[in-house]
């Protein structure tokens, strides 16, 4: 550290003052952490054999956390270069992880490995800082390489699309039939459902700028439409439709959800911002409460089971002679249905994206965006804001309904439990974190938030550090919140915050986003 200080002396004459400031800020942050973590972390209550509550102090946890926060804040204040900061903070945290292992278990070879990795990161960070100070470079990537990289981003979209299309085959090749179901279903399908919901909500929140906290209502309408029609209406009226139920109900679910979108839209037309958010939140809860309490209609808490699964355009995925496997001369396996479901939701998501992209170029799409930008200007330009809002609600709801119909068909069982506020919040978080209005941003944040949570189940090695009782999935909400805070600190307008113009005078010119003020991009 001393070497770094010496090297920086001419460039930063106030290094001593900076050091004092960094220590002071770090100490303050650590104090705040102490205050916050004391009631949560310091004392754990457990029942002993005699059924008595005993307090188990966990001061080492508190100490580790405070040290971690101190270091992070210190590094953040004291150093300027981003790579230095990242390396140093990662290094320190890895060291602390090793320390945690040593304290909680023993100083064994695992702890030693963690310690050396941490030390290596620290050394790298300090070496890099030295280079920054002496050679004056600020990034390990030269401008020429960066230009080449940004030229490559042109291909990022098609490559990503190709990867998503080939994903089931890739997992099948890597993990085999048995192992790949989890990866296709829990990761692939789950993420794609949220991408589709995100893209649907993006029309309402991202394009039209109407804050909707009750989006799950339309998801529920779609799911219950399919479940009720397929289990009650079709067997009684057109039993012959049987295998086609999903394909018949998909458009119906979308239309019913759109209808409910308009029904919600009417009373909230005059509302904006916080007020709109509260009413939509209430709407989402009303739908859920009706589904719980109107038992004759929806079977209440018990939900609806034995919902027919989608067929391969009339060929069911069963082991029977007319089943998919038999017809195509394959050995029966549940994997075919999973892969088919994956492609169904992939196609539905693509449809959503296609419609969104097309609409953005049409007057109605531009009116949505203008509405988001300035409602008063919009009205004085002769745009009927009532219709504009209603179409946004209806279309957003329709895609939510499609996703709901798919969800019911995939699960085979639905209950009001699946349509709680937290679902709305998660979809909204995906849209906001992704950068309101951006389709690519929604994809990235869906993968990060939904995929990230699923990954937590796979992180068994963390037990090596935190002890056998450690379950990473319990920290889901904490990590979710932390990710949100961090993204909002670093990218206040979402991951992809530049808005792509929809019309050009003659040629497509890049619109510099670096010229934009925050909140104006």
């Amino acid at each position: 550290m001393a070497a770094t200080l010496d090297a920086s002396a001419p460039a930063r004459p106030a290094a001593g003052a900076l050091l004092t400031r960094a220590v002071r800020e770090g100490g303050f942050a650590a104090l705040v952490t102490l205050g916050l973590s004391f009631p949560i972390l310091a004392l754990r209550t457990e029942q002993n054999m005699a059924n008595e509550l005993v307090l188990i102090p966990r001061w080492s946890w508190v100490a580790l956390l405070c040290i971690a926060v101190f270091i992070a804040r210190f590094v953040q204040v004291f150093f300027v270069n981003k790579l230095t900061k990242t390396l140093l903070i990662l290094g320190c945290f890895t060291l602390l992880g090793g320390l945690g292992r040593a304290v909680n278990a023993a100083f064994d070879s695992f702890a030693a490995i963690v310690f050396s990795v941490g030390a290596l990161l620290l050394v790298l960070g300090l070496l890099w800082e030295r280079r920054v100070e002496t050679a004056g470079v600020s990034s390990p990537v030269s401008p020429a390489t960066r230009a080449r990289l940004s030229a490559l981003t042109r291909y990022a979209g098609p490559v990503a699309l190709g990867f998503i299309a080939a994903y089931p085959m890739i997992t099948l090749a890597l993990a085999g039939q048995g192992g790949s179901i989890k990866w296709i279903d829990n990761f692939g399908i789950q993420i794609l459902i949220y991408i589709m919901l995100g893209w649907g909500l993006n029309i309402v929140v991202g394009l039209a700028g109407l804050l909707d906290l009750g989006y799950v209502a339309f998801y529920a309408v779609g799911a219950y439409s399919y479940a009720l029609i397929a289990t009650k209406v079709i067997p009684e009226t057109f039993p012959a439709l049987g295998v086609w139920a999903f394909w018949v109900c998909l458009p119906i679910s979308g239309l019913l959800a759109a209808l409910w979108g308009i029904i919600l839209g009417f009373p909230v037309l005059r509302l904006r911002g916080d007020y709109l958010a509260i009413v939509t939140l209430a709407f989402g809860e009303i739908i859920r409460l009706v589904l719980i309490n109107w038992v004759d209609f929806s079977n209440g808490y018990a939900g609806i089971s034995t919902i027919p699964r989608p067929s391969f355009f009339g060929i069911p995925f069963t082991a029977a002679d007319n089943g998919f496997a038999a017809v195509f001369g394959l050995e029966f396996s549940p994997i075919y249905r999973t892969i088919f479901l994956y492609y169904v939701i992939f196609a539905l998501a693509l449809l959503t994206a296609y419609v969104t992209l097309r609409l953005r170029r049409l007057p109605v799409g531009r009116a949505w965006e203008a509405l988001r930008e300035d409602e008063i200007a919009c009205r004085s330009l002769g745009i009927n804001t009532t219709n504009t809002k209603l179409t946004a609600f209806a279309l957003g709801a329709m895609f939510g309904g499609f996703a709901g119909c798919f969800f019911a068909a995939r699960q085979g069982f639905i209950s009001p439990e699946s349509f709680t506020f937290i679902e709305s919040a998660q979809v909204l978080a995906i849209v906001v974190l992704g950068g309101a209005g951006s389709l690519v941003g929604v994809v990235i944040s869906s993968i990060a938030l939904v995929g990230g949570f699923e990954i937590l189940r796979e992180l068994d090695f963390l037990k090596q550090v935190f002890g056998e009782n450690f379950d990473p999935t319990q920290y889901r909400t904490l990590l979710f919140g932390l990710a949100m805070v961090l993204i909002m600190l670093w990218k206040p307008r979402g991951l992809v915050s530049t808005r792509e113009p929809t019309a050009f005078l003659k040629e497509r010119k890049s619109v510099s986003s670096s010229l934009m003020k925050e909140g104006h991009g």
């Binding site: 203008a370 008063i376 004085s380 330009l381 929809t502 019309a503 619109v511």
Partner: protein, 255 residues
């Protein structure tokens, strides 16, 4: 645009009715009265200005003509149609365009997209032609065509707001304080453009201004508003020479 008007030409008064007529309009914000019975006319082909101090009710009148807030009493007619009770977007569809107070360009949309929004009202008929007209009127906009509205300077935003309003091919253009916060040179450019539009295309303009000197020099006729009432009216030059107007709005002010 270099030709300076030394003497305002006599306005072409339409046969009989004025294009816009405001009669006994009272507007309230809650229980507070903002307009206390305003009478005002704008004739076909005229530039009419309304001057007054901060809070006199100028912008309220402008907004009331556009139906938001609505007049609680009185009557506003445009080209013979009673527009007092019409919703804002339908008033706009009668070909009244507005460059609103504070410009209100769409900040994240490009200049080109902003112009498109202006043309939405007539379904993009003559769109390309009109864009070219706007470039001729405000060459600056052509340079900025792919730039986002929010990144423009104040003067450019004002030009964009006016151009966006003109894309609808309005019969009446309402301008709310186009000179607000702009450098004198830019103000002159914008006022010259308005004068040119009026002279060449016969565009009727209703202008609300605090910059009384420039506004009265530009206008054929003017009104003075104090505390929600029209206190004076007359020809632009006439008002400019009036000792009371001079004392209240011009002396010590900027010329």
């Amino acid at each position: 645009m270099s030709v300076r008007v030394t003497e305002a030409p006599a306005p072409v008064v339409g046969a009989g009715q004025p294009l816009l007529s405001v009669r006994g309009v009272k507007t309230y914000y809650g229980n507070i009265i903002a307009l206390k019975g305003v009478d005002l006319d704008v004739n076909q082909g005229e530039i009419v200005t309304l001057i007054g101090a901060n809070g006199a009710g100028k912008s309220t009148l402008m907004m009331t003509i556009f139906g938001s807030p609505r007049a609680r009493e009185g009557r506003i007619t445009f080209a013979g149609t009673d527009i007092t009770q019409l919703p804002t977007h339908e008033i706009a569809r009668l070909r009244i365009s507005q460059s609103p107070e504070g410009r209100r360009v769409f900040p994240r949309m490009t200049v080109y997209e902003n112009l498109q929004m202006g043309a939405a009202i007539n379904d993009f008929a003559h769109f390309d032609e009109d864009v070219e007209r706007m470039f001729a009127l405000f060459p600056r906009l052509k340079e900025r065509i792919g730039q986002r509205g929010g990144t423009l300077s104040g003067g450019e935003q004002q030009m964009l707001a006016i151009a966006r309003a003109l894309m609808a091919r309005p019969k009446l253009l309402l301008l709310d304080e186009p000179s607000l916060g702009l450098a004198p040179l830019i103000v002159k450019q914008i006022f010259d453009a308005i004068r040119e539009l009026n002279r060449k295309e016969g565009l009727t303009v209703f202008l609300v201004e605090q910059n009384a000197y420039h506004a009265l020099k530009l206008a054929h006729r003017g009104y003075v508003m104090v505390n929600g009432v029209i206190t004076m009216s007359g020809g632009g030059r006439e008002l400019l020479a009036d000792p009371q107007v001079r004392a209240a709005y011009l002396e010590g002010g900027h010329h």
